[in-house]
Amino acid sequence: MTEVNLVQAVNLALARAMEEDDHVLVLGEDVGIDGGVFRATDGLLRRFGAERVLDTPLAEGAIAGLSVGLGAQGFRPVAEIQFTGFIYPIIDQLASHAARLRNRTRGRLTCPMVVRSPCGGGIRAVEHHSESPEAMFAHIPGLRVVIPSSPRRAYGLLLAAIRDPDPVVFLEPTRLYRAARGDVVDDGAADILGRCFVLREGGDVTLIAWGAMVVEALAAATALEAEGVGAEVIDVATLKPLDTETIVASIGKTGRCVIAHEAPLTGGFGGEIAGRIAEQALFSLLAPIERIAGYDTVIPLPRLEQLYFPDASRIADAARRAMAYR
């Protein structure tokens, strides 16, 4: 067991996957000699060579498109898009091809690719480096959308994503890359995709989050505990396919719910979760569902960004509002 940060956990998972399967390739901008702008692919070129770790020309759409061709040929490409602010050009390749190749060909051709990208804000980055586009990907049939919240989950979920026979969008919370540290056992054990993780049990209110917001939800739960409120914290981890069962079971227990995400409120994935709860757990609810999200604005530049992102205090306040219903 080693204590690592989240980006090191990603690196461990990539190396492990490449070690155990020759078909796994890493490609993207600056992933080779530079080891990735966040060092997620550091050392892989030296270890696995230039035929397994490919520095591509600067063209996000073609990185995804190449991966479709490689995937159809039996490789397992793991493509890095440098920031989610630059990920929009690949939506066409994912929606029009990667996510539907299996369906279009009745299973004759498939696309076992992973697109990794740092996502979210909070690192005082320049414009276009703080986006949270997970809901756009979750809307695309045939994709899986995964967001880890800790080094351990990054390791286990990324291994699972690479081994998955279908395309996976794997979004890594940038602000946790170095801030989140934890023990990881590099034993090749993958987590299961499509399952939520209950990180903390509580009987009064369920806090639902993913990525960096999980850290804020856990902090909110600690604050609420001091007030005698038992908060259950669910790390969604896989947005698509969504583990509705775990969420509904928790609401059955607590009757109150706060959903937190960095992405803008409207059309955010919190709406989907709220919808599932309304469909399957309405009569368990003791209070309206609270959604704490980014605003429906462009993410402000760093001088104002802290006002934009949901944090533990906004999540705790929402939980307190929910608790006011008796």
């Binding site: 759409g61 490689l70 159809a72 060909t105 396919p241």
Partner: protein, 363 residues
């Protein structure tokens, strides 16, 4: 002071003139009459398929269909230069190449009739299904070629797209990657002069589409796309160059779209019928037939026999298509993922419950 730092040339190749006369020595494969007759059969089969598809569409028995009339030689000539282990990555008007590669007329009818099983090719199992979003398949061909290169396999990816596609970023990005990595891929532009209503002159200010390759560091050339012998020769040379490690080629095949863009289009809204008329003298079947007839390799009887044979084959395929029952409702869900997630199983069960109510006899 200033110096010229780059110059370029673009070659144009042709074997037969529009009247079907050889303009010079023909490529070696043309010495064997069987090879030329195989090409002529491929062209004829495509055209007979095309006519049947349009007839089915006009009578409400096929979906919207993109005819390839007039530009069959680009597709057939290209596919004829490929080996079976190469991979074809076509756009949506390449029925000729698909048929020659072993996609069956039944599969094509199923696809255009709205059935995904039309892309479950029994023949060329690694070939891509057609790409409907223009140009978006060019990077796939580069990816397939990269796979060949990484596995050190002597195989080539062959991608066809239209003149309109050359304006899109996907083509630019794919050409660039192919050039940087010297990938074993051949890109063929089937330049039929029209992107729906937009004529070639309004598509780009570039003098040729072939020269776009030169900016990406590899060979670009033109070929008479209505001359199937020339297409096969030029594409074949490019494929063999790629197979030997010589990198990619972009070939602009000059042809003409004699029909509407698709059965949903009415070309008379944007081009005069009179402008099309001369191109009927350029078209590829007529040209090869003239050559074969002039050189005593083809007779009226041969033609009649071939037409009968193709008409019967295509009619039988159309009949089999019309008799193919649709997939069961659960087929909508079955291939979204390798294994059906719980949420999709729930949605599938919802559909099955509804469809049982709607069609009680089906359950």
């Amino acid at each position: 002071m200033s110096d010229v730092v780059a110059r370029f040339e673009v070659e144009f190749s042709r074997c037969l003139d529009r009247d079907g006369n050889a303009v010079g020595p023909l490529p070696a494969f043309a010495a064997n009459p069987e090879n030329l007759i195989a090409l002529y059969r491929g062209l004829t089969r495509t055209r007979v398929f095309d006519a049947k598809a349009i007839a089915l569409q006009r009578t409400g028995r096929l979906g919207t269909y993109a005819s390839s009339i007039g530009q069959e030689a680009v597709s057939v000539g290209t596919a004829s230069a490929m080996r079976s282990e190469d991979v074809f990555v076509p756009s949506f008007r390449e029925h000729g190449g698909q048929l020659l590669r072993g996609v069956t007329p039944l599969e094509l009818f199923l696809y255009w009739g709205g059935d995904e099983r039309g892309s479950l090719f029994a023949g060329p199992k690694e070939d891509f299904p057609i790409s409907v979003p223009v140009a978006s398949h060019a990077p796939h061909a580069a990816g397939v070629a990269l796979a060949f290169k990484l596995r050190h396999e002597p195989r080539v990816a062959v991608c066809i797209f239209g003149d309109g596609a050359t304006s899109k970023g996907d083509v630019a990005e794919a050409l660039n990657m192919a050039g940087v990595w010297r990938l074993p891929v051949v890109f063929v532009v089937s330049n039929n002069q029209w992107a729906i209503s937009l004529p070639r002159a309004q598509q780009t200010a570039a003098e040729t589409l072939a020269q776009k390759a030169i900016a990406y560091g590899f060979r670009g050339e033109q070929v008479d796309g209505n001359d199937v012998i020339a297409v096969r020769a030029v594409v074949g040379a490019a494929i063999e160059r790629a197979r030997q490690g010589g990198g990619p080629t972009l070939i602009e095949a000059l042809t003409y779209r004699l029909g509407d863009h698709t059965t949903a289009d009415d070309a008379s809204r944007y081009r005069e019928d009179a402008a099309v008329t001369p191109y009927w003298q350029e078209e590829p079947l007529l040209r090869l037939r003239r050559y074969l007839s002039e050189t005593g390799q083809w007779s009226k009887t041969d033609e009649e026999r071939l037409q009968r044979e193709m008409t019967a084959e295509i009619a039988a395929a159309a009949d089999a298509y019309l008799k193919t029952p649709p997939q069961p409702p659960e087929a909508i869900f079955a291939y979204t993922y390798a294994a059906l997630p719980a949420e999709l199983a729930r949605q599938r069960d919802g559909l099955l419950a509804v469809s049982r109510v709607a069609a009680p006899e089906a359950s």
